[in-house]
């Protein structure tokens, strides 16, 4: 069962930027790329907890602002020589509004 929640218009996020959603399990970062693709991932770098939402977005990747690990936003996998993965969350855009599936957050809570 999915439960989509409206989190706002896509224009609330700068192109090649991110905004944060607070959840009880920690922050989720929502990214917008040059091509207006939207991705939702954990806002915590697996390296030393850097806030990924503050990183530089390029292509469909983000570079952590603390020590420059780069993550693929679609898969959550670290790129290059680094190893690690961040959680990714289902998100869709409808009529310019972003919808997040919060059942995933609940699952994460249960896990």
């Amino acid at each position: 069962m999915t439960q989509w929640i409206d989190i706002g218009p896509i224009t609330a996020i700068p192109v090649r930027g991110a905004r944060v959603i607070k959840t009880a399990q920690g922050c989720v970062a929502v990214f917008r790329t040059t091509k207006d693709e939207i991705f939702a991932v954990d806002d915590r770098c697996p390296h030393k907890g850097g806030p990924l939402s503050e990183g530089i977005v390029h292509g469909a990747s983000v570079t952590c602002p603390l020590h420059n690990w780069v993550f693929d936003l679609a898969t959550g996998m670290a790129k290059g020589a680094d190893q690690g993965q961040i959680g990714t969350y289902p998100l869709r855009v409808e009529g310019g509004r972003m919808l997040l599936d919060v059942t995933y957050l609940a699952k994460k809570d249960a896990a």
Binding site: I5, P14, E54, G55, L66
Partner: protein, 813 residues
């Protein structure tokens, strides 16, 4: 298995063992002794280790795994004290005896120490091995420390340049009239001297050292014959080497200048061989690796009873000092029947000289542009008749045959036996064979043939051979591209932005063929800076291409919180401002309030979402952002000057405030810090800032290029200003010149080291019209960029500092 004992784990024996194991891994059981407590490393690369460009680990040529896989018994840190050839045993220092079937001497050289008074003081060292290098590195650690290098040859200059890069104040003392007199003629020596002086190295030629002066057993100064004293805490002697023959002599081998060897590298005892700098062959001794590597091949063959003959070749020299392009080969002394062809281009600092005898090139010296060095070296070695191309000879291979050839064609035209890598004696044919055998890139060619694996100066040539052999499959990588998104260097991109009038990032990506759709975290901040510096009125600053600190106008801390610092002009504040800061600290629960090194107050530990509110409060009290996070003007540190101090000669605080008000808000390639002191007591520590002003009775001494971060640098004097306005003008012009020319993330001192202080001075001091142009362009940029980012963000962007949504309730279901 037969027993081979090797004395010395140097560059020559290392190579000999490689050839031996390659040809027959099971012929010998090898025991390797080395007086140094380590195995084989690339001695040539000690200079990059000294300058900090490489680490020791990167120059090790044979590691423990290599020795183990080849069954070598390593006895590092153990010296051989004696050899008993009758019983065929070696004796270690500890008195242990080991028997051999074959013995190989590779004891190298000993640096020559002039036995002048004081040579045994602490702090007097030679430049030969890793321990010497480490001693020099340690000596460079003390700020402002001084070094003297005796000897203006290859080694001395490399030591001097390395020490200089470590921040030491270095003087080279050379007995001859010009530097590198054995390799260069006077004109090239002059150009070299100029380049080194630009780098901040002092040079004394025609200077004879008399004695070394000490204090408490440690070196204090060098005294020259004319009575001059050069103070120093480190004295490096690089005046020559002598083959290390003592052990050979004591063992009863035939020894002249070096241990005598025949064409098979066998000494006067048929079971004892010798290789490297310790040998003498037909009256010649050797001091560069190229011939030693040839010898190493012969040694391996002889040990396996194969035929091989060592024939010495002409060697060429290059200086491994970054940015000094220098090449010399052959003989260029004046002499009967010898003719010179000389080419000079003073504006570019290029000088080339060929020495001809009987229509053959016998010597070549080049400075500034050494691209054709390899070709001339080939002509010398082959003894080619050059009468047909005499007219255009000096212009190099591309001019032979009329039309200008591109460098690739020139390489394509080289015969297979043309030598590409001088250090390792690798010719073009071997490289082509390796490529045909599957080596498709530089790394693979290097691994298989060793070409470009030693000093690395032929890397470009090897790449060109790859390019002509592989055709379109191989793209020559340009020197240090900005990042993986492009092949262009920072310098190329800056140039192209100007010449092609590229005024937006997409224009750059498109026109310069970026390989990624929208750059990456490395190139985008650089491009953003270049574009706004060159086109302040047309380009729109891109916050998303800025590192978080600049995007959010606050410094990110390790826990993801931020620090906030209001400007305090020239370090001056008042009770009202202090109260506002204290109130803000209370209101936003600031855990740490810190006074910074730049005389400002830093509020550490502010949450991202509180930033707009704390800024608004500080703005209300009249304070603006201190840009403590920016690649831009940070702080202007001042002392109290004439207002209060009894020594002050000028109003240093006032000048500091004026400078900060003129420069704040400007973006620069890296951070910029200023200091103004009211007298030479220098309480504001102005001489370790990017620009430092020292007020004196007669005016203002402006100096530039200091730093007190990872590297410690003292500023270098730019000029003296008579009036305060002149000091301000020079400072602004300097900052603008830096903005227009430096590579992103190069602090001013790094940039100055590349372009030379003279070049800067010419533009900022001497050329008044040019100075005004710089000031005008700076003013145009400031008309756009000098604004308080805090106020701007509160008005326009406050919402992005807050979460997009708060789902803490939903998620809790």
């Amino acid at each position: 298995m037969k027993k081979l004992i090797v004395i010395g784990a140097g560059m020559a024996t290392g190579r000999a063992l490689e050839h031996l194991f390659e040809a027959d891994p099971d012929a010998y059981e090898v025991t390797l002794f080395n007086a140094e407590p380590r195995g084989n490393y690339n001695r040539i690369m000690l200079t990059p280790v000294l300058s900090g460009e490489k680490t020791y680990e990167e120059i090790v040529t044979h590691d423990a795994a290599w020795y183990e896989s080849h069954g070598v018994t390593c006895r590092f840190g153990e010296k051989i004290a004696a050899v008993d050839r009758d019983r065929k045993v070696v004796v270690t220092e500890g008195g242990e005896e080991l028997a051999y079937d074959k013995l190989l001497f590779g004891t190298g050289s000993n640096p020559f120490i002039i036995p002048m008074p004081g040579h045994d003081l602490d702090g007097v060292i030679a430049y030969r091995d890793l321990d010497d290098t480490n001693r020099m590195i340690d000596a460079g650690g003390a700020p402002g420390s001084k070094a003297v290098v005796i000897g203006g040859g290859l080694l001395g200059l490399e030591a001097a340049a390395g020490l200089r890069m470590r921040g030491m104040d270095v003087t080279v003392v050379h007995i001859m009239g010009h530097l590198m007199d054995r390799q260069l003629d006077e004109a090239a020596g002059y150009l070299l001297r100029k380049a080194l002086v630009d780098r901040g190295i002092n040079i004394c030629c025609s200077a004879n050292s008399k004695q070394i002066l000490g204090e408490d057993g440690h070196v204090r100064a060098l005294e020259l014959a004319d009575g001059t004293e050069l103070p120093c805490s480190l004295l490096v002697m690089a005046v020559g080497i002598r083959p290390s023959v003592a052990l050979g002599q004591a063992s009863g081998l035939a020894v002249g200048k070096g241990i005598h060897v025949d064409d098979q590298m066998v000494t006067s005892d048929p079971d004892v061989l010798a290789v490297g700098e310790c040998v003498e062959h037909n009256g010649a001794i050797f001091g560069l690796v190229a011939p030693l590597y040839d010898q190493a091949k012969v040694v391996a063959a002889t040990l396996l009873d194969q035929e091989a003959v060592f024939t010495p070749k002409e060697v060429s020299t290059k200086l491994k000092v970054t940015g000094c392009d220098l090449f010399s080969a052959g003989d260029f002394a004046e002499g009967e029947g010898r003719e010179d062809i000389v080419f000079r281009d003073p504006a570019r600092g290029v000088y080339k000289r060929l020495v001809l005898e009987n229509d053959r090139v016998i010597g070549a010296v080049m400075y500034g542009d050494t691209a054709d060095g390899g070709w001339f070296h080939g002509l010398i070695k082959d003894g080619s008749d050059v009468s047909d191309m005499r007219d255009t000879l000096i212009f190099g291979p591309s001019f032979q045959g009329g039309a200008q050839m591109d460098p690739l064609q020139a390489v394509a035209a080289l015969p297979p036996e043309a030598e590409i890598c001088g250090c390792n004696g690798v010719c073009k044919g071997q490289i082509v064979t390796a490529i045909a055998g599957g080596a498709q890139d530089l790394g693979a060619v290097r691994a298989q043939t060793k070409a470009s694996g030693s000093c690395g100066t032929c890397t470009g040539l090897v790449e060109q051979v790859l390019a002509v052999t592989l055709g379109d499959d191989f793209v020559i990588p340009a020197a240090q591209p900005i990042c993986g998104c492009t092949d262009f260097t920072h310098e190329d991109v800056r140039l192209l932005i100007k010449t092609k009038e590229l005024k937006s990032q997409p224009a750059v990506w498109q026109e310069l063929g970026w390989k990624s759709p929208d750059g990456c975290h490395v190139c985008r901040p650089a491009l953003n800076f270049y574009l706004l510096a060159d086109w302040p009125l047309e380009y729109k600053d891109d916050l998303q291409s800025r590192f978080i600190n600049e995007r959010k106008h606050a410094n990110i801390q390790k826990d993801g919180t931020f620090s906030v610092m209001p400007r305090m002009w020239g370090g001056i504040t008042n009770p009202q401002e202090l109260r506002a800061i204290a109130d803000a600290a209370d209101k936003y629960n600031v855990p740490t309030v810190k006074v910074t090194g730049g005389q400002r107050i830093d509020l550490l530990g502010v949450k991202s979402e509180d930033l707009p509110a704390i800024w608004a409060d500080l703005n209300k009290a009249g304070m603006v952002s201190g840009h403590a996070y920016s690649k831009g003007l940070r702080t202007v540190k001042t002392c109290v000057g004439t207002d209060h101090c009894r020594f002050g000669t000028q109003d240093s605080t006032g000048l500091g405030i004026k400078l900060e008000k003129a420069l704040w808000g400007s973006w620069t390639p890296h951070k910029v810090k200023l200091g103004v002191s009211g007298c030479p007591r220098n309480c504001a520590e102005a001489t370790c800032k990017d620009v430092g002003v020292i007020c004196v009775d007669s005016g203002y001494e402006v100096s530039v290029g200091g730093a007190a971060g990872m590297d410690l640098k003292e500023t270098q004097p730019l000029a003296k200003a008579v009036t305060e306005q002149e000091a301000i003008d020079m400072t602004i012009a300097f900052v603008q010149l830096y903005r227009e020319n430096a590579k992103y993330l190069d602090r001013p001192y790094k940039w100055i080291a590349k372009v030379g202080l003279d070049w800067v001075r010419d533009r900022v001091v001497a050329d008044l019209e040019g100075r005004q142009g710089l000031i005008d362009r700076f003013a145009i940029s400031q008309s756009v960029y000098q604004k308080d980012p805090w106020a701007e963000h509160i008005a326009e962007r406050a919402e992005v500092y807050h979460p997009l949504a708060n789902l803490t309730l939903e998620a809790a279901e």
